[in-house]
């Protein structure tokens, strides 16, 4: 039914814009001392300030300012010598004051950039995403929509509100429009969010869990005819809760826009909601009349005038950039570009590194995470990191294989069992009774049986044709149900045949 992506990009040039909201990992909220623990019982982390009770007043969390400045510096932004909070006025039941304390025309960080690398047809290519601003604001409460059939807002009979999340510090990172990505717009969007997430993680300012909403991405997409400099109407897609969804949402919106434009229809400027199950977006309820947020400087708070030495201290303490870190790993591990790209794409670099740090050989660690574990993750439609297997488990397995106590085949069984929840590798080996057959007597019996079955092959080996031994080794492995160490089998077999 739908247009092919190739047809879209043959005719149109996509223009991207990304807004990322990040919940900061402070202990307390943005403007009050309430706890910020995710998943707490409803309304147990609220106070007069974050409930917006009459008379309550906000006081800024210094750590939130510090984190925001760190983010700005890591994104190559200028830190404003003077910035302020402003009130964004609109009514919504999840917002206790009916205004959001945010920043408007005086954000704390401006004019930065972030470079991302994409694996293109012409090899690895760098794209620069320019950052317009990084500003602070507060999160809203959470609504449960009750009654009706769907649990969704439309058709609900009433709603239940929990304000635990209200007032959690949020940072909004807004890009300038990103032109020139061509057909790689979906990949650039994804790479940008991934890179941003890695930076935030390296700064230790947020737990950046997209599925828990501590990192949320809104993707703005518009199309213009190739060769034209007239920007198209953009749509803003919300509810994009994974890296994969970022890519899917951008691609999906490009196709949807192109279909409309090809039919001579208009793209409506609106908010759309990404549907994880279908990969499509659904229109939000379009407002009959435009909102007017009536921003004005927040009179309950005073300006932020960060001390230059504070900024320089934070700058000096910035951790190594994820991109630099990756280059260093790539060299240390001697990994080719393509393999590096596939690790990044599969989002396993960090766990591979953790596995290596636990003593595993880099190539082996990479092999397991990108191979067997990635395969299982794919089957389950989750990321490798989400599976219940840890770098420690994998390092242990790699060590057991190296010591000859597991074969690759047995190791795969162990991995499956660990993921299935049967316990740690040592426990799995114990309970399943997995054991490499290393008893020379037992092996010799299997070897002799194999030679007896294939005497002509044995003759070839005796005659010096060593590669022919493979068939015999295979037979032995089959006989021992994979519990033998292939290297050991080879050694015994060749010796037995006078080689």
């Amino acid at each position: 039914m739908s247009l092919k992506y190739e047809d879209v990009i043959a005719k149109y040039e996509p223009v991207l814009g990304l807004e990322v909201h990040v919940e900061l990992g402070t202990a307390s909220k943005m403007f009050c001392g309430c706890n910020t623990i995710f998943g707490a019982e409803p309304n147990t982390q609220t106070c007069p300030v974050c409930l917006g009770l009459p008379g309550a007043l906000p006081v800024v969390n210094e750590k939130a300012i510090e984190y925001t400045i760190m983010i700005g510096l890591a994104l190559n932004c200028s830190i404003a010598p003077f910035s302020r909070f402003a009130r964004k006025n609109y009514f919504y039941p999840d917002m206790p004051k009916n205004f959001q304390t945010s920043q408007y025309d005086e954000p704390i960080c401006i004019n930065g950039f972030l470079d991302v690398e994409i694996d293109t047809d012409e090899g690895i290519k760098k794209f620069r995403v320019e950052i317009e601003r990084v500003h602070m604001e507060e999160d809203t409460g959470k609504s449960l929509h009750m009654g009706g059939a769907t649990g969704r807002i439309h058709g609900a009979d009433y709603s239940l509100l929990d304000y635990n999340r209200a007032g959690i510090p949020l940072v909004e990172i807004v890009t300038k429009i990103v032109p020139g990505t061509g057909k790689y717009a979906p990949e650039v969007a994804r790479a940008y969010v991934a890179e941003l997430r890695d930076i935030l993680r390296s700064l230790n300012v947020s737990d950046v869990k997209m599925e828990q909403g501590s990192l949320r991405c809104d993707a703005n997409v518009s199309l213009r005819l190739i060769g034209s400099d007239v920007l198209g109407t953009r749509s803003e897609t919300k509810n994009v809760n994974s890296l994969r969804s970022v890519e899917r949402a951008v691609r999906g919106e490009m196709i949807r826009h192109a279909e409309l434009l090809n039919k001579g229809e208009r793209v409506v400027q609106e908010t759309r909601h990404f549907q994880e199950d279908t990969g499509l977006t659904r229109s939000g309820r379009s407002k009959e009349q435009a909102e007017d947020y009536r921003y004005f400087p927040e009179p309950d708070l005073v300006p932020i005038v960060p001390d230059a030495t504070w900024i320089e201290t934070l700058r000096a303490a910035l951790p190594e950039k994820p991109s630099t870190h990756r280059k260093r790993l790539q060299e240390a591990w001697s990994v080719p570009d393509k393999e590096m790209a596939s690790m990044i794409n599969a989002d396993v670099l960090e766990i591979v590194e953790a596995t290596v740090n636990l003593g595993a050989d880099p190539a082996k660690a990479r092999g397991w995470w990108l191979g067997e574990i990635a395969r299982i993750a794919n089957e389950k439609d989750v990321t490798a990191a989400d599976l219940p297997i840890t770098p420690k488990d994998v390092a242990e397995i790699v060590a057991l294989v190296a010591a000859g106590e597991l074969t690759d085949k047995l190791a795969r069984q162990v991995i499956e069992a660990v993921i299935a929840g049967e316990g740690r590798p040592s426990e799995v080996i114990e309970t399943r009774g997995i054991k490499v057959v290393s008893d020379d007597g037992a092996l010799m019996a299997a070897i002799e049986k194999a030679i007896a079955a294939q005497p002509e092959v044995a003759e070839k080996v005796r005659g010096g044709n060593l590669p022919a031994a493979g068939a015999l080794i295979g037979a032995v492995m089959k006989e021992t149900e994979g519990q033998a160490d292939a290297a050991k089998v080879r050694e015994l077999l060749l010796k037995h045949l006078g080689q």
């Binding site: 106070c47 007069p48 409930l51 917006g52 009770l53 009459p54 008379g55 309550a56 007043l57 906000p58 006081v59 800024v60 009130r87 006025n89 009514f91 039941p93 206790p96 004051k97 009916n98 205004f99 009979d157 709603s159 509100l161 007017d292 009536r294 921003y295 004005f296 009179p299 309950d300 708070l301 005073v302």
Partner: protein, 499 residues
């Protein structure tokens, strides 16, 4: 009758054992029971809580604990100040039945000083008004003449003092709501420097202008109360982090010899009642007789203060009052099957707010809306700068500035109810102080010859020089008392024989 004494004298009577706090509190509760049907100063009387606080103060005194100077003295609290568990309505139907789950900082400080809180006093709804006629619970009557207004918005607090229902009261002053009621009831009221008294728990009307302060019958009593409630509060970002000036010492040693007193040319003349100006000029003569140098100063931009105020205050209030939406507290109107939250908000705010509040919310919404911000709110903020500059220049020529507090004596209830602009003119002399964030005091300057009603004398001092108000106020008060021979409140006539 002990209730006719000053707070300082009552404190001496408690200290000497002449009476107890329980007896003193009971005497005031009896007085409230006797006269408040006519005065209607109180919206809620907390007899039980007051007597319990009094008993506690007596117990501490008996145990020899070191007590604050006002320990055991009763006080009336303006209903805009949050007190845990005690109905707080702000004079609005919107908050009918609301019992806050927390104490304002002012209440915490009063408790810590063992001041006995008798109850909550009537006010113009959300402190918007100059007559207390805008209370949803009916007007307060001026004890000097029950057919007249007691000023506003803090008419309940000032009337309670003039009717001897309480020796001390807390008011709040956004454009004159402490000083103008003091002027028309023959009492003393002080608006401290902005940031001098915490706003935490003061239900916000206009955040950049609101300030709580003491109401009393003498300058010394006001100073004693001011000292209890003043000081830095980490819960209020706009609170001044500096020592409180020595106000009680200043009130005990009033001396104006060699002091320069600036008369503001623009705050007299046309629009001011003759009797008000006569009393003002007599007070100036007394001050000159005490050795002060009287100089004239000009503040040319004051003529724009009223206009700027009626843009800034409504703008901030339109945002501050957005939280009253029927979702989390307060009344809820129109909730029925199929009715949306949005409709319930609309209906509740229509019913819950009075006319003046709605008028200001709409005006403020307009002044902040896109396309009008610069012309209205933005311009008003610039006028604010000019008014500050006027004060800065005037304070180069004088240590304090003076004017009549209000242009007229108390007018009749209903007289100006349909003419908002005439009503707004009541605040013409008090508003500049709020706009600049400086401090001001009103004290009685005698009765106007036309109507035998009290007039007020306003003293203004630079930010954080609140002690100057008390120094000058105490000197003038002493000179007036010796001239009159008896305190002005000995002439209160509205309550007949009970006065």
């Amino acid at each position: 009758m002990i209730i006719k004494r000053n707070a300082a004298d009552m404190a001496a009577a408690l200290a000497s054992g002449e009476t107890t706090s329980v007896a003193l509190t009971q005497a005031h509760l009896d007085r409230i029971a006797e006269v408040d049907k006519e005065v209607h100063a109180f919206l809620h009387v907390d007899s039980e809580g007051a007597l319990a606080q009094a008993a506690l103060a007596d117990k501490k005194r008996a145990a020899g604990e070191k007590l604050s100077p006002l320990a055991g003295i009763p006080l009336a609290l303006k209903d805009v100040m949050v007190q845990k568990g005690i109905p707080t309505t702000c004079g609005s139907k919107m908050l009918e039945g609301w019992r806050p789950p927390y104490d304002s900082t002012v209440v915490s400080k009063l408790r810590a000083a063992d001041v006995v809180i008798l109850g909550k006093t009537n006010m113009d709804e959300f402190a918007m008004g100059s007559s207390t006629e805008n209370s949803a619970y009916g007007p307060t009557h001026n004890p000097w003449d029950l057919s007249r207004i007691p000023g506003g918005s803090g008419g309940g607090s000032s009337a309670s003092l003039a009717a001897f229902e309480a020796p001390l009261a807390i008011g709040t002053d956004t454009g004159g709501s402490i000083r103008q009621p003091a002027a028309v009831t023959g009492t003393v009221g002080v608006k401290p420097t902005y940031g001098g008294v915490s706003r935490y728990g003061l239900v916000a009307f206009s955040s950049s202008l609101d300030q709580a302060g003491p109401c009393a019958r003498t300058v010394l009593d006001a100073a004693l109360l001011h000292e209890v409630i003043a000081g830095h509060d980490p819960k209020d970002s706009t609170s001044i982090n500096a020592p409180v000036p020595a106000i009680v010492a200043a009130a005990k040693n009033g001396n104006v010899k060699g002091l320069k007193i600036g008369v503001i040319k623009e705050l007299q003349g046309e629009g001011y009642q003759a009797g008000v100006l006569n009393r003002f000029n007599e007070s100036l003569e007394l001050l000159a007789g005490l050795g002060a140098e009287i100089v004239e100063v000009s503040c040319p931009y004051f003529e724009y203060a009223l206009a700027a105020y009626y843009l800034i205050a409504p703008s901030e209030c339109s945002s501050n009052l957005a939280r009253f939406d029927a979702m989390r507290y307060g009344i809820r109107v129109g909730d029925a099957s199929g009715v949306s939250a949005e409709e319930v908000m609309n209906l509740t705010r229509e019913v819950g707010f009075g006319r003046e509040v709605k008028r200001r919310i709409i005006l403020g919404t307009y002044a902040l809306s896109s396309g009008y911000y610069d012309a209205y709110y933005g311009s008003a903020q610039k006028v604010r700068t000019l008014i500050k500059q006027d004060f800065d220049n005037a304070f180069l020529k004088a240590d304090v500035l003076v004017s009549p507090t209000a242009p007229t004596t108390a007018f009749k209830i209903g007289e100006k109810a349909d003419d908002p602009i005439a009503m707004y003119l009541n605040d013409i002399a008090t508003i500049p102080v709020n706009m600049a964030g400086i401090c001001g005091m009103s004290l009685p300057s005698g009765l106007a010859e036309e109507d035998n009603l009290p007039t007020g004398f306003q003293i203004m001092a630079p930010a954080m020089k609140d002690d100057r108000l008390y120094n000058v106020g105490a000197a003038l008060e002493a000179a007036l008392l010796s001239k009159w021979g008896a305190p002005i409140l000995s002439h209160v006539s509205g309550l007949g024989a009970r006065a």
